[in-house]
């Protein structure tokens, strides 16, 4: 066994995580290697040192926490997901994302041509930054039918979004995977303090953020929450406003 392997087993030894076989091999190595014996001593001392870093919280902390809690309403339940309506909610969100993604952006910059508006998700959601398309004049009077921004009326999935499409030029729809048993949206720090439209019944969240932030969220949390994304922002400039729609289900 090399000393490098021994380091891993030394760590496992301190954590009580080694198999008997690993322990035996480690013992064998330690018997022959004074360096690793010293490292074991050093690790043990560090262990003790770390334990001694434990501190009592400052006396006022508890009251501060409870005062902040008291200043809040009851714990929110509005973000609960009702699986029975998720299919409908997801469909509604697709409409929303489609309706939002390709509206002309009301700035002096060139914008996505309205011709891109498309009825299929596969065509519509991935954004391509086509240089020639950037020359196309923003045809605001040809904006897609506003009706596409309205969710299908349904008792099960009430349309509660009010959106400002002129601010958004990109869309990203994110579905949470099966491992998203935790309140994913609440734990994503970039979303904290952001204005959010919440469909109370369905666990559908709609944020408007810049593309860089959305990319960061996707990069940081895709693995954690099993994000399935529809559309990508590869070609969007960092400061491009982006509609981020998250569906928990």
């Amino acid at each position: 066994m090399t000393c490098e392997e021994a380091l891993v087993l030394l760590s496992g030894h301190l954590d009580g995580a080694n198999t008997p076989e690993e322990e035996a091999r480690l013992e064998d190595h330690l018997a022959r290697c004074p360096d690793c014996r010293r490292i074991l001593d050093a690790y043990s001392a560090m262990e003790q040192g770390i334990l001694e870093l434990s501190e009592e919280p400052p006396a006022q902390l508890h009251d501060r926490i409870m005062a902040a809690v008291a200043a809040e309403a009851k714990p929110s339940r509005r973000r609960r997901v009702r699986p029975a309506v998720m299919g409908l909610a997801a469909a509604a969100v697709l409409c929303l994302a489609l309706g939002l993604g390709y509206l002309p952006r009301q700035t002096e910059e060139s914008t996505e041509p309205v011709a891109r508006v498309n009825n299929t998700l596969a065509d519509a959601l991935p954004v391509q930054e086509d240089p020639s398309a950037q020359e196309a004049a923003p045809a605001q009077e040809e904006s897609p039918d506003v009706a596409t921004r309205e969710l299908p009326s349904s008792a099960a999935a009430p349309a509660t979004f009010s959106v400002e499409p002129e601010a958004a030029t990109e869309s990203l729809l994110v579905e949470l995977g099966d491992n998203a048993a935790s309140p994913a949206v609440e734990t994503i720090p970039q979303l904290e303090g952001q204005a959010v439209e919440v469909d109370g019944a369905c666990g559908v969240y709609h944020f408007t953020l810049d593309a860089a932030t959305v990319r960061q969220i996707i990069a940081d949390y895709s693995e954690l929450y099993g994000f399935r994304t529809h559309g990508d922002l590869e070609n969007a400039a960092d400061d491009t406003p982006c509609d981020l729609v998250i569906v928990c289900g």
Partner: protein
């Protein structure tokens, strides 16, 4: 048991929530303290963690352990805090002199005898500085393992990585920390400390 308190707290019972705060404020505070390195930020982050937990309890699902869920909230808040702080953070192993030159922190006096022990307070500062010098993911894994006595499996659940990753991350964290301790001048962590001391003594 947490489950019953969590159920009551989720229904808006702040007395039940206070029991949870009492159980977890110390470990959460200590995780924040190790992650962010100072008491003020640690208090803020601890408060933020519990406030977020209170707000989100409605969507907590009982199939996960409450402690795991709480540590994960806390961990995400700490990591985000560190990202925000990153720019003005130089700390780890060097401090700046008033003239802007960097000098190593806590260089041991070469004239001091090898058996001379650091005071307990210096020792503690050195351990804290060495831990603080690790990258956050190493610092966090090692802290949760040693200070919070979480198993590899629990840490894997908090950090949402595989157990094998936890194991190797902690092993690497220990070695990085030992190296940091050596740089800080702690002789007991050096495998070839006699030689090092000899060289130092020969230096002009």
């Amino acid at each position: 048991m947490d489950t019953e308190l969590v159920r009551k707290a989720a229904a808006g019972d702040s007395d039940a929530f206070e029991q949870l705060v009492l159980s977890y404020e110390k470990p959460i505070y200590n995780l924040c303290l190790r992650m962010c390195g100072n008491a003020d930020d640690a208090m803020d982050l601890t408060q933020e963690t519990f406030l977020k937990a209170w707000r989100s309890l409605g969507s907590f699902r009982a199939d996960a352990a409450f402690s795991t869920w709480l540590y994960r909230l806390c961990s995400n808040l700490c990591i985000d805090h560190l990202r925000r702080e990153q720019k003005r953070k130089i700390l780890p192993l060097h401090v700046e002199d008033s003239d802007g030159d960097e000098r190593p922190l806590d260089v041991p006096d070469p004239a001091a005898g090898p058996e001379e022990r650091l005071s307990a307070q210096e020792d503690r500062q050195q351990v804290a500085a060495a831990l603080q010098s690790l990258e956050p993911e190493y610092r966090e894994a090692l802290t949760l393992r040693v200070l919070h006595d979480l198993s590899y499996a629990d840490i894997a659940a908090v950090l949402q990585v595989r157990e094998g990753t936890v194991k190797s991350r902690i092993a690497r964290a220990r070695e990085k920390m030992r190296e940091a301790m050596q740089k800080l001048g702690n002789k007991s962590t050096s495998p070839s400390s006699k030689q090092t001391r000899h060289e130092r003594r020969d230096a002009p």
